[in-house]
């Protein structure tokens, strides 16, 4: 069972839809409340980045089923402007929108695995996994 569900991000309220779905998925897989909150927060950050910087995009969820562990994979994709300097956005406190600048580094700390691929001018894809402990 390795199906994917996606939520399109177009309006600000889609962020709420995305993290609701993510939280439900996390609950199904068997995450505790703290990890559910972590996942929901991470999704919120990723979805807000899409909404703020790319305008539209989507958040997808995939159940991970390894031999000895289960997890949730969150994929955020957009066709926005992309990120020129990835090491810079992964720094705490770096922001272009006047926010706190804790979004992406925060997501990295909230999740277990984090991977970012960005092509300036073409878009960004972020994959983040949280494993059930």
């Amino acid at each position: 069972m390795n199906f994917q569900t996606c939520v399109n991000i177009q309006k600000e309220w889609d962020i709420v839809g995305a993290r609701q779905l993510g939280r439900d998925r996390a609950k199904e897989i068997g995450f505790g409340t703290v990890d559910q909150a972590r996942i929901a927060t991470a999704i919120s950050e990723l979805a807000r980045n899409i909404y703020l910087y790319a305008g539209t995009g989507k958040i997808c969820f995939e159940m991970m089923n390894d031999i000895n562990q289960k997890g949730l994979l969150v994929i955020a994709t957009d066709n926005g402007p992309g990120i020129k300097d990835i090491s810079q956005v992964m720094e705490d406190g770096y922001t272009t929108s006047g926010g706190l600048g804790a979004g992406l580094p925060g997501v990295k700390r909230l999740m277990d695995e984090f991977d970012i691929i960005s092509d300036p001018g073409k878009g960004t894809e972020i994959r983040a996994i949280k494993w059930v402990r």
């Binding site: 600000e12 309220w13 709420v16 993290r19 409340t33 703290v34 559910q36 909150a37 972590r38 929901a40 927060t41 919120s44 950050e45 807000r48 705490d92 926010g99 706190l100 600048g101 804790a102 979004g103 580094p105 925060g106 700390r109 909230l110």
Partner: protein, 289 residues
């Protein structure tokens, strides 16, 4: 030609209705209407087809159609029932007309199609409009309802007010919160404001950012802001995100927040003297006399 076709259809309404009902029942099992009881489904179908025929007959949107659509909306029938029904009606009617005439060339065919479209399309438009109108109405009502419960400021004691936040905070709400907070502080002459986030499901960097800004603004007008209702899981995500909330005091519950607020305004809660004690003292003093 128009009249002729219309009369043909109206005079043979029985056979068209029969065919239509058959088709509709065939569709039934597969999806949305499966939870509706058999009798209700049948009677609604009959009514639906009657409504279609009266509006075809009169060539305009009738009050029956309005009543019918209103009832369907109130009962929560899916829109697809109506669109499916009308599409089936179109198909069945065209089929019927074409089988009635022996020879049909392409020109006649186009005329028939056009005619039936002219009957059916206004009905579809009307019904879809009414449905979407009712949805839009619901959405706007809910938006107003949400605004109303958005960000109240409650004065609980002299110089102490509480703002409980419930639900998701988006940009609009964040603005409203800030305005209400500052207006309220001035209006109630508050020295301490407690912002309670027990009911906020997710605190991400944006929400935290807005709270920090609100607290900073409150500080600028000379009051203190205390953030209360931080659940353990929210505390952990805030730490993971690396958000610095050291600029103002935070507490786990509203109760502790109120205590701190009282301390800040040089007050505290004291238990009033025990009643029984008072009575005994009174008795003692009476005995002495």
């Amino acid at each position: 030609m128009d009249k002729q076709l219309k009369n043909l259809v109206l005079n043979n309404s029985d056979s068209i209705v029969k065919k239509w009902l058959e088709e509709i029942s065939k569709n039934r099992s597969n999806e949305y209407t499966s939870t509706i009881s058999e009798e209700l489904f049948e009677s609604t179908n009959r009514e639906f087809v009657n409504v279609i025929f009266t509006s075809v007959d009169k060539q305009r949107i009738t009050s029956e159609l309005d009543d019918f659509s209103e009832r369907l909306i109130n009962l929560g029938w899916p829109l697809s029932y109506i669109t499916d029904g009308l599409q089936t009606f179109r198909r069945v009617t065209i089929d019927f007309i074409l089988t009635q005439s022996e020879k049909i060339d392409s020109e006649d065919f186009a005329i028939v199609l056009d005619m039936v479209d002219n009957w059916v399309d206004p009905i579809i438009n009307q019904l879809v409009n009414e449905y979407s109108g009712s949805w839009e109405h619901t959405v706007s009502l809910q938006r107003v309802a949400l605004q109303e419960l958005s960000a109240p400021l409650i004065p609980v004691m002299d110089n102490i007010t509480v703002m409980p936040l419930i639900g998701t905070i988006d940009t609009d709400r964040a603005k409203l919160i800030m305005e209400n907070l500052l207006d309220g502080v001035i209006k109630h002459n508050a020295e301490v404001v407690l912002i309670d986030i027990t009911g906020v499901p997710v605190v991400d960097t944006m929400v935290a950012h807005h709270i920090i800004q609100a607290a900073e603004a409150v500080r600028l007008i000379g009051a203190t802001c205390i953030l209360v209702g931080i659940r353990p899981e929210i505390a952990q995500t805030i730490v993971n995100l690396g958000i610095d909330l050291r600029k103002f005091p935070t507490k786990s519950s509203l109760r502790k927040g109120v205590q701190t607020a009282l301390e800040l305004t040089n007050r505290r809660i004291v238990q009033s003297g025990n009643k029984e004690d008072g009575v005994e003292k009174l008795l003692d003093s009476l005995n002495k006399e």
